[in-house]
């Protein structure tokens, strides 16, 4: 019941906004700040006038974001770290989900969005209206989370299961149904595989994890996985298998049923063993470092402003040191806001998130893969360009 209620509330909220001040795109009005103004009001007086491009200076006020729940754990670490450095600043984040986050952001209800997928073309167009100035919003890939393939086969205790992309796709597309299938045995000559039926577990809710995982299968084994990168598994996927809600549900379902295999945020799989994945003729076990390499080996799409950092993830890396199944989650921010206070806040927070400290905090709290130095430098450069609309 929670979500529809939220939707109604969001609708009512948008109505209020429209009623309060029409034309949220005009830079003179403070309507986009409406949700925060009451909070920020108390601290505005104490605000130090920071100059443009001075992210290290202390900032104050309230920054409001909403979006992907995948980032929720990391966001808590970022909020704590940021507020420690800026005691007068508050960051609020509502993990309503990627779609809801982008929608609320585009409606002007939040200052930034967290999203497991970058803005779509029409959403970018909408962002030009939503943001001050005429530059629209950009995507910053701040959160990379490796997706592991946990499995439940007690007879293989202590051993590592190797799976090629074709086998993984075959399992989830229901063409490989037994654990002792010759295709699996071929990659695991040293293991005695049981004659158990495979129970592939997928997410029953819409999830960025599903989208990234199916994107991986459709890129690395297109002949076997013919369903493309999908989000709702039950309507767009191959059917079969077991559906479970949330990461915790998938992990619980894998733990409960012998012969199960699932895909889940690597930091959440607990004691379950995770399969090593075939890359460039070898097998790679997941690790944050190996997963972070995926951004380096992927193509960047910059968008009209040249500052956007959308990643077209390359799921078939050439080198066997890259773990190819990872979720890339973005922060979506405007390039221009209508007040200096907001610009300072957004820049300071996004700088922190993209910094070594911010990435380390997320890695510690959520098991994410820290961005490599090169990507980090590029992302920070984009954050530097955020400014007040003329």
């Amino acid at each position: 019941m929670n979500s529809p209620k939220r939707r109604i509330l969001a609708g009512a909220f948008v109505l209020t906004l429209v009623a309060a001040a029409c034309g949220s795109d005009s830079s003179s009005s403070s309507s986009t700040d409406a949700p925060t103004s009451s909070n920020a009001a108390g601290t505005t007086d104490a605000m130090t006038e920071t100059t443009d491009g001075a992210p290290m200076a202390e900032v104050s006020g309230t920054l409001v974001g909403a979006g992907a729940s995948s980032q929720a754990a990391a966001m808590q670490a970022w909020q704590a770290g940021f507020q420690e450095a800026n005691p007068d600043a508050t960051v609020e984040y509502d993990p309503v989900g990627s779609g809801g986050g982008r929608e609320t952001f585009l409606a002007g209800g939040t200052d930034f969005a967290g999203s497991d997928s970058a803005l779509k073309d029409e959403e970018y167009t909408a962002s030009i209206d939503r943001c001050a100035g005429d530059q629209g919003a950009i995507n910053l890939p701040h959160y990379i989370s490796p997706i592991a393939l946990p499995y439940n086969l007690p007879s293989l205790e202590g051993e590592t299961l190797n799976l090629t992309p074709e086998v993984i796709a075959g399992i989830f597309a229901n063409t490989i149904t037994k654990w002792n299938d010759p295709a699996i045995a071929a990659d695991n000559p040293s293991l005695t595989l049981p004659d158990t039926t495979i129970n592939p577990v997928h997410r029953s809710d819409d999830s960025g994890t599903t989208k990234n995982f199916t994107d991986y299968m459709s890129q690395s084994a297109p002949d076997v996985w013919t369903y493309g990168a999908i989000e709702p598994w039950d309507t767009d996927g191959p059917g079969g298998g077991e559906g479970a809600p949330q990461t915790s549900g998938v992990v619980a379902a894998v733990m409960a049923g012998e012969g199960s295999i699932g895909y889940a945020d690597a930091s959440q799989i607990g004691d379950l063993p995770a399969a090593s994945v075939g890359v460039a003729g070898d097998f790679v076990a997941y690790s944050p470092e190996a997963a972070a390499k995926i951004v380096d080996s992927s193509e960047r799409v910059t968008g009209p402003s040249g500052l956007d950092y959308t990643i077209k993830v390359n799921r078939t890396p050439d080198t066997a040191d890259t773990y190819p199944i990872a979720l890339v989650s973005y922060h979506i921010v405007c390039l221009q806001y209508d007040s200096q206070e907001k610009v300072d806040l957004v820049k300071a927070f996004m700088h922190y998130v993209g910094s070594d400290a911010g990435q380390a905090a997320a890695a510690a709290a959520a098991g994410s893969a820290p961005l490599s130095a090169e990507v980090q430098a590029e992302v920070q450069k984009s954050v530097d360009e955020i400014s007040v609309a003329p």
């Binding site: 019941m1 929670n2 979500s3 529809p4 939707r7 109604i8 609708g11 729940s69 309503v96 989900g97 990627s98 779609g99 809801g100 982008r102 929608e103 497991d116 039926t197 129970n199 029953s204 809710d205 819409d206 999830s207 960025g208 989000e231 709702p232 039950d234 309507t235 767009d236 059917g239 079969g240 298998g241 077991e242 559906g243 479970a244 809600p245 549900g249 619980a252 379902a253 409960a256 049923g257 012998e258 012969g259 199960s260």
Partner: protein, 318 residues
């Protein structure tokens, strides 16, 4: 026979005294009217919201989704009704039995205590039922009941299998739903059974009926409409139940009567809860359109319940 001391609602009416002012009467009348109107306005607002938000789905470009709205909602609608019906099937006989026990068999003290516990069951949040279902019930059923059903009754389409290894099946969901709707049906049935006119019961006994025959001849016919009202209220709750189903059920996009496999049709409410957070654009409209369908189904069920309840020979209504 034993009559508990639970007062049937509304027998404590205080006769208005001569001094009661007309003004107070009018103010209270106005407040009541306002409350009544508010309910209607709220309902209309919800219906309007659903209509407006659902509308874009029907005008959408067919290429937008993999399937038409009808084929999208059909398994969900089936799942919703299937799960609720199964729950009702399990809960109704049990609830009537418990209600009869409380009203006509149990010693007074036991009846009161038991009634209290049944009411307490209604106060448990549905998410707790869901967690209980997934953590306790599902493993038990999947380990001992489902394999047995598949082996011995597998020729029936309901138990065709393959049996789920984690127990996240339609049957588990239906059992949890049944437990959830049990208190409401029991409470209402108990109240009507207690209101059976003593004369009916005594007449039946005087004609030589045993206690069970008396219940068949006097209590059940009198309570029929009340039991049906209670059942429909329970059904309404089961139709709209969200969290417990979302947690327990392993959903797939199919229509099947198989209740022990991990391929189950989802329910509308659970599907909305699962899909809504990550949906955007037209997908949201489509989800709300399924909500509209559920709204109508619930409406029809309630209207039906009212018809049946009013057509009975008793004056007692839930």
């Amino acid at each position: 026979m034993t009559i508990t001391d639970t007062p049937p609602g509304g027998d404590t009416v205080v006769a208005p005294t001569e001094t009661t002012s007309k003004l107070g009467d009018r103010i209270f009348g106005g407040i009541s009217l306002g409350a009544g109107i508010l309910i209607l306005v709220t309902l209309a607002a919800v219906a309007l919201f659903l209509f407006v938000e659902a509308w874009p789905t029907f005008g959408a470009d067919p290429g937008e989704f993999n399937e038409s709205f009808v084929s999208y909602v059909a398994p969900l609608l089936f799942g919703t009704i299937w799960a609720a019906s199964l729950a009702l099937l399990m809960a109704l006989p049990l609830a009537v039995g418990v209600a009869l026990f409380i009203s006509h068999y149990a010693p007074k003290r036991i009846a009161v205590t038991l009634g209290y516990f049944i009411d307490l069951l209604a106060a448990i949040p549905s998410v707790v039922f869901g967690l209980w279902g997934i953590a306790v019930l599902a493993p038990i059923l999947s380990r001992s009941v489902y394999p047995w059903l598949e082996d011995n009754l597998g020729f029936l389409p309901f138990f065709a299998g393959p049996a789920s290894t984690s127990g996240r099946t339609m049957m588990t969901a239906a059992v949890v739903l049944a437990v959830m709707i049990l208190p409401i049906i029991t409470a209402i049935s108990r109240e009507v059974f207690l209101q059976t006119p003593r004369l009916h019961e005594e007449a039946s006994l005087a004609l030589g009926a045993t206690k069970w025959e008396m219940i068949q001849q006097a209590v059940l016919p009198y309570g029929r409409s009340g039991v049906i009202s209670g059942a429909m209220l329970g059904l309404g709750r089961a139709l709209g139940e969200t969290m417990a189903v979302a947690i327990i059920l392993s959903p797939a996009n199919i229509i099947t009567v198989n209740v022990i496999s991990n391929q189950n049709p989802n329910t509308i409410a659970a599907n909305i809860a699962l899909k809504f957070p990550e949906s955007a654009g037209l997908s949201v409209n489509r989800l709300i359109a399924t909500g509209l369908v559920l709204f109508f189904v619930t409406f029809v069920v309630n209207a039906l319940a009212r018809r049946i309840a009013n057509s009975g020979f008793s004056g007692a209504d839930g």
